[in-house]
């Protein structure tokens, strides 16, 4: 065990104190994060115990927006690495709660923390914190902008299942407009050589994505036979001002992943969903719980990715 921990040396390809987005990372940096996550997953699986590589350090979770699974995952990741954690949560339904976010963050920093994990409903908040704080900063989701650890865990899951990213065709289906997961997936997958398709109603999937080399589709059935991976994004009803489609029923008719659609897909298609899923809207229960679904692998990988991220930014 101790020997294995000693083999953990910060890779030369990583020199950042922040993980804010995947847009600004290089393919090498993304691969480093994935490889490190793999390493952590194997170590924790084998030993089923803590890797005290962050012993004596403190990680603060600043969640200005409600979150259960991501916050839990980050907390657990920090504790598995031996770090102490401080949780700050503010119910973030109103922006007024986030108004003093810089002051809140500075207060937490004054308690001598080493890394800040931040979630906020406003895009750019983690970026602003990197200009304000001296600590390491990890973005746990900033509005519809990015959610880099979610993107990484999705990509890690694909790499495990299909052995590569380069050359794969990956479709992100659903509410692209309001999805930070979509944006992080787009950048990460493209940098590693995948062909990315965004698919959904025209009100939620703008043609502008073509300008950065992403294929835009509105008909799931047309692209389905070409896809190696489908990532079914949740419809973010809470972020929409006016409903961008006439009814949930019509959405499900056009875009829900059903057993029928599964039958028309590639045999080894990988079905992902970042959760929490709306069963019956983006995906039927049969498919969500079926053999092509890797939804629970995603959760396990999330822990490994967050351990890797916290470790790398604090080295």
């Amino acid at each position: 065990m101790q020997e294995e921990i000693n083999t953990l040396a910060k890779p030369d390809s990583w020199n950042r104190r922040y993980l804010i987005d995947l847009e600004s990372l290089t393919a090498d940096e993304i691969t480093t994060l994935l490889d490190t996550a793999d390493q952590f997953r194997e170590l924790t699986n084998e030993c089923r115990m803590k890797l005290p590589v962050l012993q004596g350090k403190t990680v603060a979770n600043l969640f200005f927006e409600n979150s259960t699974r991501t916050r839990t995952s980050f907390s657990l990741a920090a504790r598995r690495l031996g770090a102490d954690t401080v949780d700050f949560t503010a119910s973030g339904s109103s922006l007024s709660k986030g108004e003093s976010f810089i002051d809140t963050a500075k207060n937490i920093e004054a308690m001598n923390v080493d890394a800040v994990v931040v979630r906020h409903r406003a895009p750019g908040t983690p970026h602003v914190l990197t200009k304000t704080l001296d600590t390491a900063v990890v973005n746990a989701g900033d509005g519809p902008h990015e959610h880099p650890t979610q993107g990484l865990l999705d990509i890690l899951t694909i790499r495990q299942k299909l052995g590569r990213i380069d050359g794969l065709t990956v479709a992100l289906v659903g509410d692209i407009a309001h999805s930070r997961t979509a944006r992080s997936n787009i950048w990460g997958l493209k940098k590693l050589g995948a062909h990315v398709i965004v698919c959904g109603p025209a009100t939620l999937v703008t043609d502008r994505w073509e300008e950065i080399g992403v294929e835009v589709a509105h008909n799931l059935d047309e692209i389905l036979p070409r896809c190696d991976v489908l990532n079914l994004l949740r419809i973010q009803f809470e972020r929409q001002n006016t409903r961008p489609f006439p009814s949930v029923r019509e959405y499900a008719l056009l875009y829900a992943m059903t057993p029928d659609r599964l039958a028309r897909s590639k045999d080894n298609i990988v079905i992902m969903a970042p959760g929490p899923i709306n069963r019956g809207v983006e995906v039927t229960t049969e498919v969500a719980d079926g053999s092509h679904s890797v939804i629970l692998d995603q959760v396990t990988n999330g822990l490994a990715v967050r351990m890797a991220a916290l470790w790398l930014v604090t080295q």
Partner: protein
Amino acid sequence: MARIWIQNGRVIDPSRELDRVTNVFIDDGRIADIGDAPQEADQIIDATNQIVCPGFIDLYTELREPGSEEDETIESATAAAVAGGFTSIASIPSADPPTDTQASVEFISHQAKRADNCHVFVLACVSKGRAGEELSEMGSLVEAGAAGFTDANRPIFNAELMRRALEYSRMFHRPILNLPQVPELNQDGVVHDGLVSTILGLPGMPPAAEDVMTGRDIRLAEATGGTLHLMKISTSGSVEIVRQAKARGIKVSAGLSAANLIGTDETIRSFDTNFKLNPPLRSQDHLDACIAGLTDGTIDVICSGHAPRATEKKMLVLNAAPFGIVNLETTLGLVGTKLVHAGHLDWSAAIYKMSVAPAQILGLEQKGSLSAGSDADITVFNPDQPWTVSTKELHSKSSNTPLDGWTLHGRATHVIVGGQLKKQP
């Protein structure tokens, strides 16, 4: 009152196509003469290598007093105006309480006189309470001194109210100034709706929101014969709509906020709230179209778009922070750098848009000109010498601007308001 001799400057008066090195003589608060021969004077200003022109008139200054004195006061705004070379400003009633009563108009005039920095022309609200529902008492407001009507940064969204406002204000020969935007298309938008907003996940303000309202307002102006000024336009679509309207002979004028010359929507990648403007910094194609509109005369006016906001308000996250920047003291520099030095406008055209056209829109016959007998409102500025913006040196009470540390060309050296020297080096 002192007799002033402005000596040896490059005198530009676009109101009568004057552009040559000569002298300007001021007596008793008015332009006395322009000529090469020396005359007697109590005070001599050496304007060698400087431009001497009719004083700048700003059609968009948010005073913020009364109501939001933490942002700006009438005293500090007018001081900033003079520092920036403006001899007159039109006050935009963006604060609450709204400027919709005689008393509120007179309060602003009174505070401006007390500050004694520059002229303030009060724009009163189009609608009672600035609520966009009922017409304000325009007749009474004009009697109290209102120079025009606007609901400030709230677009007049109700088409029927806009029609009535354009009709009714005709009786008093006062313009209606609108911010042409369809609110429901902009919704919670914070930046230009384009590739950058898509990538950053920020709610966008689509160009169509402006184009649609520009088209509506022009049709209503045509139908009513009212006087319409579109305060701040920013899209290629609305520039084209205004261009076509003018070609058809419709009486409409349009302005561009100098703040929108700062850059494109790429700036918002910094997530710096000082790049959050309304109208937003748009993509390069829209900016190019606006500059083309300035060059061919489609856009008549360059305003400052001055929107002071206290630091703590701009410290909020991008979605929650207010729009706007302080710009009275940097407008001339932006015009000099981004338009004149960049080769899009000559100084005569720039001065036309900052003095002659605004005077015409407000119906100020004694201003916007250096003709003998005009008010002695004069700006003397150095067109070429670079200077560096420092927010610490701004006269405005707020310092919300991304221009700190920028090097600009064009800075006022002497400002004469009503025959009185208000600024000198």
